[in-house]
């Protein structure tokens, strides 16, 4: 019973990370029609920047520096590398972002080595909460709360701002948005940087829990793509539902039969793609264009 409760909470925390990455993928897809295989690299860069700053300066600064550094990197990519790929077919985009992920991963490996690293939180956050039958690390609960707060802000951004309007319109009909002209390009860059920053921040914040090694970015990216596909490409609530589903599924399978905890999410995705290719909450129109 206690183990089950632990697993459910663990699944929630894991699911929230997937959701945060998946939401970034979704808003970038909405504005740029870019299927971004390098999104895991944003997570990893955020985690390492967070690690360095937390160890040298302080944890608070880490949470500020990580998203900013990642956003700057995203702007660099947007301006100098990806520019000519937005109009190309999805396969080219997959390839170039896959390549970027590869370069980032290897650069991190050269700088930081291949071993898993971690930084610890200030003592005030190292305690545990009594939660029903179990005690749970305080930082994990704080982390979950923080991610939920951030997701609410992202949702408000999508629903209430002009940039969000572009994202929503872009998911429906990209050509129409392009026809509307001028500022779209700039808005896309801002959304790209924002999606990246979310992944960077989550990377920095999740490192005390999961640690970081150069391959972690990719390891989180693939399940996040699964989340996007299961929930429905372009759907915010789809990402939320998919993330919770995949996170819990993985965590509970880990409890029941650990070796199957990876394969179960692929099985889940395969079933969804075969029977409901637009995803649980996706619109069938979106899939045709991607």
């Amino acid at each position: 019973m206690e183990a089950l409760f632990q697993a459910l909470l663990g699944g929630l925390v894991l699911g929230l990370i997937y959701i945060a990455i998946a939401v970034g993928l979704t808003i970038i897809f909405g504005t740029l029609r870019l299927v971004n295989f390098a999104h895991g690299a944003f997570y990893a860069i955020g985690a390492y920047v967070g690690l360095v700053i937390a160890q040298r300066i302080g944890v608070g600064w880490a949470f500020i520096a990580a998203p900013i550094a990642v956003a700057l990197f995203a702007v660099f990519l947007d301006r100098f590398v990806l520019r000519s790929f937005y109009e190309k077919e999805p396969t080219s985009q997959l390839l170039v972002t896959f390549g970027i992920a590869l370069v980032v991963e290897e650069t991190l490996r050269l700088i930081f080595g291949a071993t898993t690293q971690q930084y610890s939180m200030p003592l005030a956050l190292q305690g545990s909460f009594a939660l029903g039958p179990i005690t749970y690390p305080a930082y994990r609960l704080l982390f979950a709360g923080g991610v939920i707060l951030m997701l609410v802000l992202v949702w408000l951004f999508i629903e209430k701002t002009n940039y969000g309007l572009i994202v929503r319109a872009g998911i429906r009909d990209r050509t129409m948005v392009q026809l509307l002209g001028g500022n779209i390009r700039q808005a896309s860059s801002i959304v790209f940087a924002l999606g990246a920053a979310i992944a960077g921040l989550v990377g920095a914040a999740a490192t005390p829990i999961y640690g970081i090694d150069p391959a972690t970015g990719f390891a989180f990216l693939v399940p996040s793509f699964v989340v996007v596909v299961v929930g429905g490409l372009g759907s915010f609530w789809g990402a939320v539902l998919g993330g919770l589903l995949i996170g819990e599924l993985q965590s509970l399978t880990n409890l029941a039969y650990a070796p199957a905890s990876q394969v179960v999410i692929y099985l889940c995705m395969a079933l969804v793609l075969l029977f409901r290719p637009q995803g649980l909450l996706g619109e069938s129109e979106v899939i045709r264009q991607s």
């Binding site: 080219s92 997959l94 170039v96 370069v103 050269l110 699964v226 990876q262 692929y266 099985l267």
Partner: protein
């Protein structure tokens, strides 16, 4: 058709020339493969690496058939590569530990991976882009899981080690491939005895696979695959079964990769569990992209360069993976077609256009396009198309509702209506691009409601699009040839050996369609370079080359100048004497002058049907066009 007999001699000569080119190609490849290990030697390479490169190149060529020629990225090819290795190893360990027969093991592994590829392909080929990549990855991860779990057979995470040395029975001999070649010093290029017979065997396999890939990409199959890659929508609506072609490409790709995986396992004498892992899948992407997709030698070059880096450079610098990644990104950004295009080499230029001769339309021959018309008219009283309560709902919105519609053979019917009346949706229902949510449709008395667009094309329903849907990178003639090819060869044919240029009736059909639309003069122009009017007419010509009995034209003169529109109108009028034509049009002058009868759609339903004069006099039609507020009145 009869055209073929008139000039068999050039055709024969053409074939002779091709044979010489094939031979030259084979000799050059053989020479390159023979020299490769000795050129690798001074760079710090060694003979084992050369053999491994030759073997893995086969897998990369297989991967490129999918990525380069079918245009889809698989992120799960390790399931075939590692799968082939495991099957070969298990076959040897379980069934012939004392007399390991390499032929049997490799053949069994190739068959098994082909079956796996057909099964996985059947479930994946209808998906695209990231969906296809992720689903192939998912299946590969499932295979990985199975391999990891079936410890009794696969030895789990440790992989299978020290396999018995497989023997290659060859006629009377039992060849031990691990035998070294005779001693012969070659100075800086090492010694002949560095090589084992394995290299000769692997090199021969590579040579044969290269020749096969070259033949396949130039064959009719390769031609159709390229067409589907360039414009799938058009390809299905000229009658090609796109999913079938993609599945066949996936199966061939998987078979070659499995074959290579089996060879690699037997050569190394071991299979690591990584052979079915995600990084393995990624490595084929890297090899192929670095070398050059859509090129014959690209995958081989990429495999050689990257495997060389992995094996030789890794000993010298820890940054070798970074170098590899930078090369990969650099190639994608700066050389989208790969490293091998730096050297001027045999690229996959369009071999079709070269041999097509110009055909003089001869008066004695029956017009191939006319054949269908006679069939179409024979029915007499039977309608050619009839719909009953046909409807298409998107959620609660009925784009087309309760449409009863009938067209008789030979009629020229215009479908008009204000913007948003559902005209294009109605055409999509007729052509089979979308499935109806209500009602049925008969074609010549037969219910075709459930048939796909591809099947309907072969029954004789062809469509030209509102926005011309062409193969922009192909010549105008080739655009029509593809449609004619679908007509003559059917929705699917696994013709991987022969070229379509041997089918003379295709050229005749294409030329005829071009001359009908007055495009013969621009037959050799790239379709993407045509003027707007010519593009629209080419789209009609493509539809015409499928030998339709009924032609659906969605706004054929939209965006044309007045003169062009009149010219196109005259061409359509001429076509309508030979087949049934349905046309959506906004140009009222044209509609009234051209059509036998008119159907008016309004808000998804039929408002009126009648002769042009009747329609002009119909007050309800006037209401629909003039006032947007007449819904209440219309209800009465």
């Amino acid at each position: 058709m009869t055209v073929a007999t008139t000039d068999a001699t050039p055709a024969k000569r053409r074939r002779g020339g091709l044979l010489a080119a094939d031979l030259r190609f084979a000799l050059l490849c053989a020479l390159g493969i023979a020299l490769f290990p000795f050129l690798l030697h001074p760079l710090g390479g060694y003979s084992t690496l050369a053999t491994q490169i030759a073997i893995v190149s086969v897998a990369s060529i297989g991967f490129n058939l999918l990525l380069g020629y079918a245009g889809t990225l698989s992120y799960g090819h390790a399931m075939f590569y590692g799968g082939g290795g495991y099957v070969a190893a298990i076959l040897i360990l379980r069934t012939m530990p004392d007399h390991p027969n390499l032929w049997l093991a490799v053949l069994g592994a190739t068959l098994a991976t082909t079956v796996l590829a057909v099964l996985v392909g059947a479930l994946t080929v209808r998906l695209y882009g990231i969906y296809f990549a992720l689903l192939t990855l998912a299946f590969a991860q499932m295979i990985y899981f199975i391999v990891e779990q079936a410890k009794e057979w696969t030895n789990g995470d440790d992989g299978l080690q020290s396999l018995p040395n497989a023997i290659l029975p060859l006629g009377a001999w039992n060849l031990d491939l691990t035998t070294h070649l005779p001693d012969f010093a070659l100075g800086p290029f090492g010694n002949l005895s560095d090589l084992r017979i394995w290299y000769i065997f692997a090199g021969t396999c590579l040579l044969l696979v290269l020749m096969f890939a070259r033949t396949l990409t130039r064959s009719q199959f390769g031609e159709v695959l390229g067409a589907i890659r360039e414009n799938e929508q058009r390809s299905t609506l000229i009658g090609f079964n796109a999913a079938g072609y993609r599945l066949a490409a996936f199966a061939i790709s998987g078979a070659l990769t499995g074959f290579a995986g089996a060879l690699r396992g037997l050569f190394d004498g071991s299979i690591p569990v990584d052979a079915v892992g995600i990084d393995r899948s990624g490595s084929f992407v890297i090899y192929t992209v670095v070398g050059g997709v859509q090129t014959l030698f690209g995958p081989v070059a990429g495999t050689a360069v990257i495997m060389f880096l992995e094996n030789v450079l890794s000993a010298k610098t820890p940054a070798w993976r970074l170098i590899e990644g930078l090369i990969f990104v650099g190639v994608i950004v700066f050389l989208p077609r790969g490293l091998s295009t730096v050297f001027k080499q045999e690229r996959d230029k369009n071999p079709r256009a070269v041999f097509v001769r110009s055909l003089r339309p001869s008066t004695e021959e029956p017009d191939p396009l006319l054949k269908s018309v006679e069939e179409g008219h024979r029915g007499g009283v039977m309608s050619i198309i009839e719909t009953f309560k046909l409807g298409k709902f998107f959620g609660h919105f009925g784009a087309v509702r309760d449409v009863d519609f009938r067209v008789d053979p030979g009629e020229l019917r215009a479908v008009i209506g204000p913007n948003g009346a559902g005209k294009t949706t109605f055409f999509n229902l007729l052509s089979g691009t979308i499935a109806p949510t209500a009602g049925t449709m008969n074609y010549k008395g037969r219910d075709v409601s459930r048939l796909s667009g591809t099947k309907r094309v072969h029954l004789g329903i062809a469509k030209a699009f509102q926005t011309a849907s062409l193969y922009s990178d192909q010549t105008v003639r080739q655009n029509c040839r593809l449609a004619a090819l679908a007509r003559v060869q059917g929705p699917f044919r696994l013709q991987v050996l022969r070229r379509s240029t041997r089918l003379d009736d295709i050229d005749a059909l294409a030329e005829r369609a071009l001359s009908r639309l007055d495009l013969s003069g621009v037959a050799d122009v790239r379709a993407g370079d045509l003027s707007h009017g010519d593009k629209k007419r080419l789209d009609i010509a493509i539809a015409l080359a499928t030998q339709p009995q009924i032609l659906l034209l969605d706004e054929p003169v939209a965006g044309m100048s007045k003169d062009e529109a009149r010219k196109t109108e005259a061409l359509i009028r001429k076509l309508s004497t030979e087949m049934t034509v349905l046309v959506i049009e906004h140009d009222m002058e044209m509609v009234m002058g051209l059509s036998d009868s008119i159907t008016v759609l309004h808000q998804g339903t039929v408002l009126a049907t009648g002769t042009p004069a009747e329609i002009q006099a119909n007050p309800r039609v006037q209401e629909a066009y003039l006032g947007g507020h007449s819904e209440a009145e219309l209800a009465h």
